[in-house]
Symmetry: C2
Subunit: 388 residues, 2 copies
């Protein structure tokens, strides 16, 4: 069997195994990043034109592209509809970006930690992954400058708003500083913002892409966290120099994004009904965040440190006494608790032990306390074993 | 700007330009491969469960996978649901196969001519494209054996039923012979069957994948030609050795295929209503094929040779006096007629002049005669100019 060289870099299915195990109904899962079922809006399909069953344009539906461009401009990202490409979920943006930029050995720059599925696809294409550490308000600027002075990464991949996994939101000052550095060194920005709308304190900041004066950029978002992930509708907006290449890559990947999901997204985006839904969603998740924070304080305050997330879907715990959290999985699953170990969110997992990513949006609050309690017991037991 | 090496192989947008030009309402287009709008079925969404808005499995919806496996077994392709992967249109199968097999310089084997978009994505990944010529009943077996004796292609890509562009349907004997050769040389088969159900004489033959005894295989199909292309729902079925890799590649490409399209597809596949729709569709396209054949006989009988297609969506014309049909495009479009030049369907376009691919399913019959007449005039004029 002669597969491509890239297949040797296809990652083990650890994450798939966790998520599969978390499907068992008795499991209390903090592992995934699923929206709460209760908050999936009822959608109406009765007015959808039958002509949407026909093939569509690779760029996406014109009306949706106009609406997405208008929304982006309102956020402070100057752009026109001609720069908007509708994609099959923002995961596809990462696939297209990998194809556009990455040969074997191509250097790219990532936050540490970073989004696991991004890391996997960039590595699949053979990227050499450099990292810059995240602080509570964004990247360590000194280290970012140092990386840019020493390397010529093909792009930097950032998730500046409620990052997955760390929940970090960049400060205004760091957004400005990062944009200035990227312009200074002429580095392309890929800015991924699936969680922007899930803000609990009302904060909103201009995208970094909107602050660039010279560098090329791709900004990507999705309706998966705010409307319905099952639609598989996301989008990217790109600087005009990149757009034609991304369009051709999109066409060769899947011709175009499904039009029924695009139509449904257009019924919501920019509407008052969508704003009302987002308000409800934020309030719902804020309450779940608060309940989660209380449970963590009761069971984890002596075991870990964390920042209270101001948006998004995750708590990121740092154990006071680090251990490889992957070794906790079997015990946790045996106790019907699932979580996501932190190590795989780093290009060098073994050098970054001691973090746990806990999703707070999905679990039923009635089972939350018991789940957190059991997880704390698993950690305590492992640390006692290690000390013994 | 440092793009990946692969971007240098992104093809020019000739095809996009033709299809864009063909959008003008006054243009009589034989260029695309669009189903007839009149035959898009009315679909009902009112019973779709709201839970389908949630994230789904990368494999696809379990009930749909079961149904697709049952249909494939009925065709003579032994398989279980665990071998079925739902994809975002069968174009995505080509993307996943390219990722699985192709490094720069990897040899693969294709029919000549072959499906344009397959050629493009295989070349994008850097494939070295070997070809075997098609005859009226399938590939030239002598040349196929010769290629397999001299080379070790990573896979062979075949469209055995109503091929795009040539409309060739493999005979029973050639299906058997091809399967035997692939087993003899241990070459993986990728079998693409978007047009299988669009048969005008009722003929149906067992897939080649179902005849293999040893070789690995990927069989791929879609609902785009029989139900609604806008759903972007296709599928692949793979031998068990390939499936886990394809699943991981699917997950990294777009997590999973949109669930609303999958749900709609499941409402049709295997149902009596679907059979009735297919019967209508075949009859409708057969009539269009007949009208097209009449018009061709009136205007092209002295200019070109062709076989009458027994299924699919295309006539494939071979000019009696070959010329580069790409040079006809400007004149045709100036006369408001669009067609697809044959050259880009070959890995070596310049060495394969003189074919035209004409779609017969989409154009309104009232405009057909005038369109064919104008196209014949364009060809005649070019041949006169060449002779002069």
């Amino acid at each position: 069997m002669a597969f491509s060289e890239r297949v040797s870099r296809l990652k083990s299915s650890l994450i798939r195994e966790i998520l599969a195990a978390a499907q068992r109904p008795q499991v209390m899962s903090f592992a995934g990043g699923l929206p709460a079922e209760a908050m999936l809006p009822n959608v109406d399909w009765s007015d959808m034109p039958v002509t949407l069953g026909q093939y569509g344009m690779s760029e996406g539906e014109p009306a949706l592209r106009e609406m997405l461009a208008a929304e982006a401009r309102a956020l402070g990202l100057p752009c026109s509809a001609s720069q908007v490409l509708v994609v099959s979920g923002s995961q596809q943006t990462l696939d297209l970006a990998a194809k556009l930029y990455i040969d074997k050995g191509t250097q790219i720059l990532l936050e540490a930690p970073t989004y696991l599925a991004a890391l996997q696809i960039f590595q699949l294409f053979g990227a050499d992954c450099l990292t810059v550490p995240l602080e509570a308000d964004g990247p360590d600027l000194g280290q970012l400058r140092q990386r840019l002075e020493r390397h010529r990464p093909a792009f930097i991949y950032l998730i500046p708003t409620f990052q997955n996994p760390s929940a970090v939101r960049y400060s205004e000052a760091k957004r400005e500083a990062v944009a200035a550095l990227l312009d200074e060194f002429g580095v392309t920005l890929i800015e991924d913002e699936p969680y922007r709308e899930l803000t609990f304190d009302g904060g909103s900041a201009r995208p970094i892409a909107g602050r660039l004066k010279k560098s090329s950029w791709i900004y990507t978002g999705t309706v998966s966290k705010t409307l319905l992930p099952g639609l598989r509708v996301g989008y990217l907006i790109a600087s005009p120099d990149l757009f034609p290449h991304l369009l051709k890559l999109k066409q060769s990947a899947d011709l175009h994004t499904n039009r029924i999901g695009q139509w449904q997204a257009l019924q919501w985006i920019g509407s008052e009904r969508y704003q009302a839904h987002l308000t409800q969603l934020r309030s719902f998740y804020r309450q779940r965040r608060d309940a989660f924070q209380s449970a963590l304080e009761r069971h984890f305050s002596d075991l870990a440190d964390w920042n209270v997330p101001q948006g998004g879907l995750f708590f990121w715990l740092t154990l006071k006494r680090p251990l490889d959290t992957r070794t906790l999985l079997d015990a946790a699953l045996a106790d019907d608790v699932a979580f996501m170990p932190g190590e795989p969110f780093f290009p060098e997992p073994d050098r970054n032990p001691g973090h746990l990513r806990l999703n707070f949006s999905h679990i039923d609050p009635d089972r939350l306390e018991e789940g957190i309690r059991r997880l704390a017991v698993v950690v305590r037991r492992a640390q006692a074993d290690k000390a013994a």
